[in-house]
C-alpha cells in the first residue's frame, strides 16, 4: 500500500467518516439540535471516537434561514460542548467549515476534527431570504431572488451556445435518476420538468427546498488509517471568490472555480468522480467547463444538489459523498466542489484520493 500523492502540505489529512440526514421538505417537529444530533452520533460511531476525543469542531449554518440570531449555538448541545471544547463556526456552507478545520489540523493544533453543517429552510421563504446576502446598496433593495439570478446565468449560457433548454432538462433528469440510489435524497427518480419558474429555468432546473444535516470527521496521518479502512486523503483544497457585482462578471465562466482547482492540483492527474455543488442545472454546465471534466468522469452519482439542497450543508455533502465513494473503493481520485452566493460567486474545490493497493 502506498500513501497519498505528495501534497506539499504540512500534514496528510483525510476524510475518515461521513453521515447525513434524510433531506426533507419540512422538519417542524425537530429543533436544530434535535435534527443535527443523530447525524453527529452516526458520524462519530463510524470512527469509534467519542465527542470529547475530537480535537476541533467546526460548523456551518446561517441564522437567516431560521430567522434567529446565534441559532448555531443551539446545536452545540449536541456535540457535548461542556466541559469547553475547541470550536468554531462559519456563517456559510459547511464546506468552508471543513476548510477551517483542515487548516486547524495543518497547524498541528488538532489531529481530528468534527465538521457539521445544517440548514432548516422550511421556516421561511428561502428565495426571499437569500436576497439578504446580496449587495445592500445596488441589489438587495430590488429583491432579486435566487432563482432569478440563476436564470440570468442560464440565459447567458444559452445565448453563448453553451447549452439549451433540452440540455438543461437532461442534466436535471440524470441527477434525479442517479438519486434513485441515494436513500437520503429529497427528489428521486422521474420528476416532471415542470413550468418556468423564472424563464429559462423550469421547476426541474431548480433545487428542492428542504431541511437537512451533514457531518464529516477529519483525521491526520496514521490516525486516519486507524479510524478508516481506506481514508479519503485531501490532496488539495482551495477556495476563491469573484467580484460581487454580477454585471462585472462573465456569468458563463467561473474563473474562481478554475483557480481553486489549479491550486488544489486537480489538473495534475485525471479524476474518476466529480461531486459538483450546482443547485441549478445550468451551473453544472459552467462547472464542468471550469473543472475540465471529460465524458469519462462520473458526475454527481449522488444526484447532487438538484436532488437535495439543504442550504449550508449541500456543499459539505459533496465532499462527503466524494469521500464515501473512496471509502468504499468506488473511486480512486475524486473532485468535490462547493459554492456559496449568487451565480457561483464563491467556490471551493477539494481533491480526494484513496491509497492505491
Amino acid at each position: 500500500m502506498t500513501g497519498p500523492r505528495t501534497t506539499g502540505y504540512a500534514r496528510d489529512v483525510a476524510v475518515v467518516a461521513f453521515a447525513q440526514s434524510d433531506h426533507l421538505r419540512r422538519t417542524d417537529e425537530l429543533s436544530e439540535v434535535e435534527m443535527v444530533m443523530p447525524v453527529l452520533h452516526e458520524v462519530l460511531a463510524a470512527t469509534g471516537l467519542k465527542a470529547g476525543e475530537i480535537g476541533f469542531t467546526c460548523s456551518g449554518s446561517s441564522d437567516y434561514l431560521a430567522g434567529r440570531a446565534f441559532s448555531f449555538t443551539m446545536t452545540l448541545d449536541g456535540v457535548g460542548a461542556w466541559p469547553p471544547i475547541s470550536e468554531s463556526h462559519v456563517e456559510m456552507d459547511g464546506a468552508w467549515a471543513l476548510y477551517e478545520a483542515w487548516v486547524k489540523i495543518q497547524t498541528g493544533d488538532a489531529d481530528t476534527a468534527l465538521v457539521y453543517a445544517y440548514g432548516k429552510s422550511s421556516p421561511g421563504s428561502v428565495r426571499d431570504v437569500l436576497t439578504r446576502q446580496l449587495d445592500p446598496y445596488y441589489l438587495a433593495p430590488l429583491w432579486p431572488d435566487s432563482v432569478a439570478l440563476a436564470a440570468l446565468q442560464a440565459q447567458a449560457l444559452i445565448d453563448a451556445g453553451e447549452t439549451d433548454e433540452p440540455g438543461l432538462a437532461a442534466i436535471a433528469a440524470r441527477s434525479r435518476a442517479d438519486a434513485g440510489a441515494n436513500p437520503h435524497a429529497q427528489l428521486r427518480g422521474a420528476v416532471p420538468h415542470g413550468d418556468y419558474q423564472v424563464r429559462p429555468l423550469r421547476t426541474g432546473d431548480c433545487p428542492p427546498v428542504g431541511d437537512g444535516v451533514a457531518a464529516v470527521v477529519l483525521a491526520a496521518g496514521d490516525l486516519a488509517r486507524q479510524l478508516c479502512r481506506r481514508p479519503a486523503w485531501i490532496t488539495g483544497i482551495d477556495h476563491r471568490i469573484e467580484a460581487h457585482g454580477l454585471g462585472l462578471r462573465d456569468l458563463t465562466d467561473s474563473p474562481s472555480t478554475r483557480t481553486a482547482a489549479e491550486h488544489a492540483g486537480l489538473f495534475d492527474a485525471p479524476v474518476d468522480t466529480a461531486e459538483l455543488h450546482a443547485p441549478f442545472s445550468s451551473q453544472e454546465v459552467v462547472l464542468r467547463t471550469a473543472l475540465r471534466l471529460g465524458d469519462g468522469v462520473t458526475i454527481n452519482p449522488s444526484g447532487g444538489a438538484l436532488a437535495a439542497n439543504p442550504m449550508m450543508a449541500a456543499g459539505l455533502i459533496r465532499i462527503g459523498e466524494a469521500a464515501a465513494r473512496i471509502h468504499r473503493g468506488a473511486s480512486d481520485r475524486a473532485v468535490a466542489h462547493a459554492t456559496s452566493g449568487p451565480c457561483l460567486q464563491q467556490n471551493l474545490v477539494a481533491v480526494l484520493e484513496g491509497d492505491r493497493a
Binding site: L142, P144, Q155, A156
Partner: protein
C-alpha cells in the same frame, strides 16, 4: 417520569424586520445622488473600463478608484430572465424581465427590472432606457425599471468626466427588510410550552448523566446525547443567586428596584431565571425558598414569591449556582 409523548407541532409567526442604516462612501454617494438628479455615474477602473454601477475598489487591482464619469440612460441588455410571478418587494408587480443592462458608455452591466409585454418582446442585445421613479430619494429604486427603446445608437459624447458634486449629497441609505417565518420550537420545547399551559414545569433527564434540564432543549450539552425522559419539577425552588435591577426597562411595567434571580426548581439540574416578588428587594437572599405566581391567563409564571419555608442549606444548591 413519563416517556416523551408524540410530537404535537406548535407553530407561531416569526417576523424579522431590520432597517439597517448604511453610510455611503464618496463613489456610492455620488452614484445614488446622481440617480436622484437623473444622472447615471460610473467609475473608471485602472484598465480603462467604465464600471456601472460604480465600485470603490478596482475589481482587478483592488486599488481605490474615484474617477467618476457620466454614462447614458440608454443601454443594451446583456442577459435577461422572464419573471412571470413577481415576488413581494420586487420593482414591478406585473410580469417583467430581470435584465443585466450595459448602459451606453459603460463596460459592465447593472441589474434591474425590464418592463416588457412578454418574454417574446425581450432578447439579449435589445435596446432599453431607464424609466425614472416618480419620486426619487437617492437609491437604486430611483430607477423604476428599464423599458424598451427605439434609439439604436449610443450617444457619442459619453462617457464624460463628472465631478460627482451635487447639492445635498445623499450620504446614507436605510435598507429596510422584512422576512416572515413560521417558527416551530421542536419536540422538547413543545413539551415544555404545552406543560406550562397547564401550570406545570417539565424538564428532560439525560439518560447518561441523569441531570434534569429545565427548560429542555432536547440534548445534554455535557454528554451530547438526546434527553428523552420527561420529568416534572418544582413547583417550588431555591434562589441560587440574584441581582437587583435599578433601571426601568422600556415597555416593561415593573417598578424598580426589583430582584431578578436564578431559581433551581426542586428536582431540576440547573437554574432558570425569574423575577422575585412579594418580598422587599433588599431581603432577597441566596437559599430563599420560592414558588411561582401565575396571573390570570398567563402562559408562564409572572414571578416567584417566598414559600415561607426555612432557607435551603448552601450545600443543597451550591452545585447549581
Amino acid at each position: 417520569m413519563t416517556a416523551a409523548s408524540p410530537p404535537e407541532v406548535l407553530r407561531a409567526p416569526l417576523v424579522v424586520e431590520f432597517p439597517f442604516t448604511r453610510s455611503l462612501g464618496p463613489v456610492q454617494s455620488a452614484f445614488l445622488t446622481g440617480l436622484r438628479e437623473g444622472v447615471v455615474l460610473g467609475v473608471q477602473a485602472s484598465d480603462g473600463r467604465v464600471v456601472v454601477p460604480p465600485v470603490e475598489y478596482d475589481p482587478v487591482t483592488s486599488e481605490e478608484i474615484r474617477d467618476l464619469v457620466e454614462v447614458a440612460t440608454t443601454g443594451t441588455v446583456t442577459t435577461w430572465a422572464w419573471n412571470d410571478r413577481p415576488r413581494p418587494n420586487q420593482p414591478l408587480d406585473t410580469p417583467f424581465a430581470w435584465a443585466l443592462v450595459r448602459l451606453d458608455g459603460a463596460d459592465t452591466a447593472l441589474l434591474h427590472a425590464l418592463d416588457a409585454p412578454g418574454p417574446d418582446a425581450v432578447r439579449t442585445g435589445m435596446r432599453v432606457r431607464i424609466r425614472w421613479a416618480a419620486e426619487r430619494t437617492g437609491a437604486i429604486t430611483d430607477i423604476a425599471c428599464f423599458e424598451p427603446c427605439d434609439a439604436t445608437t449610443a450617444p457619442q459624447s459619453l462617457p464624460a468626466p463628472h465631478d460627482g458634486i451635487f447639492r445635498e449629497a445623499v450620504t446614507g441609505i436605510v435598507a429596510e427588510a422584512r422576512l416572515d417565518y413560521v417558527y416551530s420550537p421542536g419536540r422538547a420545547q413543545t413539551g415544555y410550552i404545552n406543560a406550562l399551559s397547564e401550570r406545570r414545569t417539565v424538564g428532560e433527564r439525560c439518560p447518561s448523566c441523569h441531570k434534569v434540564y429545565v427548560p429542555p432543549r432536547g440534548a445534554c450539552p455535557t454528554c451530547g446525547v438526546a434527553t428523552t425522559d420527561r420529568v416534572e419539577v418544582g413547583p417550588a425552588g431555591t434562589v441560587t443567586t440574584f441581582c437587583i435591577v435599578n433601571i426601568k426597562a422600556a415597555n416593561l411595567d415593573i417598578e424598580v428596584p426589583y430582584v431578578y434571580a436564578h431559581i433551581a426548581l426542586d428536582g431540576a439540574g440547573l437554574a432558570l431565571h425569574g423575577r422575585i416578588g412579594g418580598i422587599p428587594y433588599d431581603q432577597v437572599r441566596m437559599g430563599l425558598r420560592v414558588e411561582p405566581v401565575w396571573t390570570e391567563g398567563g402562559r408562564y409564571p409572572d414571578h416567584y414569591r417566598p414559600t415561607g419555608e426555612p432557607d435551603a442549606e448552601y450545600d443543597a444548591y451550591k452545585e447549581l449556582i
